[in-house]
Symmetry: C2
Subunit: 286 residues, 2 copies
């Protein structure tokens, strides 16, 4: 018998409505930027951030690289932070930027999205290996209500690959966007949004509008606001498919807000998250 | 003062000549395929493989996904296996298939290629995020003699992205191959090979020949022989830039050779690695 699992998109949409927030806070524990007294305890630093942002954000996005740097202890911290965030009622988007095939992709799925208590609700995925590399995640979306965010147009330059012009005149990333729409077409929840989302850099406002048109049912995850220079007011087009059809990701500007404002890092992070949440909600036009 | 570090390519070439081998053994610890008595001890299973293949292979390529699946204990096993392989005189290529930018890419570099005793000598990297995402690895190649292998044409289908036709008539992966040649141009060692290599699936013999032409100084890492159906005899063109200009990767067919042959898994892996090494050396024409 099939288990009736809520789709990732519907679950997210419910949280967006409840909190009136489209904010995702990235967790990038960079030891050099943390308060000195916490440098030995990445898990404690991140759990402090989770407490601070939980009322304001719908999800956290821990960046695996920063935890892997710290070896097995870092991975233990990653697990601890994911569990803590889930208990705090936040969705967890693991940022791994993986792209693998066959048994390797299945291993990643298992590691992050499956099992009795999956570490994360969604994962970021690199598209270079094509549909075959995404299949295991689509299966996890079907069976476990997981979500993925495919890297489509990243917030960095990346133009040497993503903007290459195809025979039909489109840039490469438009092609990837149409693949994302195709991959997600039969994973659309009750609210009209798909379990297959897309990462589109907030640093390219025009690309955001193109992306919305090419992927009308995809949840867009928009990094690049704040430290990377993207502006929230440029993002209104992203929200055309509903209040939960785009999420704005801020990492450094929240994690290390205390370095600008002074004071306790949690208070500073909470204040910045609250401010961003309001600014984004207003800009989204909902 | 600059530290005179041997380049990855020169170090690899010396090992290739010494062992008369171009074999890389992937370490894909899949608990379902391992001998029953070792299922609880992935590190022991992999270290057994290292002992068995060390006389025949120049490098091992542990696949991070399989270790991550096991959580923090898996990452501890990963570290243990990398250290064990280094002590056995093998080069270590960490298969992470990462593609990240800025501080995240730097974190991965730090995690795998830097520090007093780097876990790995080289890393696999996804090109979708363009030159900016590769920069930190190029810096690690310059400073620490590290290497990278950029995914160019993977052994799976992947055609929906990699074979898309560009405005100038070339497939996408040809463009990526020319970027690889460009990124690696000023990182060429004394032997004429670059620290920036390329992953090209052995399942596409014609692509291997094209790849050699497009990237004359890149070390090609060729997966897909054995379990995935690629044939060693089709790969001679890959070796046109010298005996160390291509490496053939075999994972499952070596790791789980005992399932075909019976007997001890280490003996079976050693015998299969020895057989492959001879077959590849003969096919390489050196």
């Amino acid at each position: 018998m099939a288990v009736a699992t809520q789709t990732f998109a519907d679950r997210l949409a419910a949280e967006v409505e409840r909190k009136r927030s489209q904010l995702v806070v990235g967790l990038d524990p960079n030891v050099d930027l943390m308060p000195v007294e916490l440098r030995g305890d990445v898990a404690r630093f991140c759990c402090g951030l989770v407490d601070a942002v939980a009322p304001h954000a719908v999800a956290v996005k821990p960046q695996l690289a920063f935890f892997e740097t710290l070896g097995p202890a870092g991975m233990a911290a990653f697990d601890q932070v994911c569990a803590y965030a889930r208990r705090a009622g936040l969705l967890v988007i693991a940022a791994g930027e993986r792209g693998d095939i066959g048994s390797t992709a299945r291993a990643y799925c298992e590691a992050y999205l499956e099992g009795d208590l999956p570490r994360a609700h969604a994962l970021t995925v690199n598209p270079y290996l094509g549909r075959e590399s995404v299949e295991p995640y689509l299966a996890a979306a079907r069976r476990h209500g997981a979500g993925i965010f495919v890297l489509v147009k990243t917030s960095n330059a990346g133009a040497d690959v993503q903007d290459v012009v195809l025979k039909d005149g489109r840039p490469m990333w438009h092609h990837v966007a149409s693949l994302v729409a195709e991959w997600g077409a039969d994973l659309v929840g009750d609210g009209g949004l798909s379990a297959v989302g897309a990462v589109v850099g907030a640093t390219h406002p025009r690309a955001v509008a193109d992306a919305r048109r090419l992927m009308p049912q995809a949840i867009m995850l928009l990094p690049g606001v704040g430290a990377q220079g993207g502006s929230v007011s440029d993002l209104v087009r992203a929200f055309q498919s509903g209040p939960a059809s785009a999420l704005v990701n801020a990492s450094r500007s929240v994690n290390y807000a205390y370095r600008e404002s002074g004071g306790d890092y949690r208070e500073a992070a909470g204040a910045e998250a609250a401010r961003l949440k309001r600014e984004i909600w207003a800009a989204s036009g909902w």
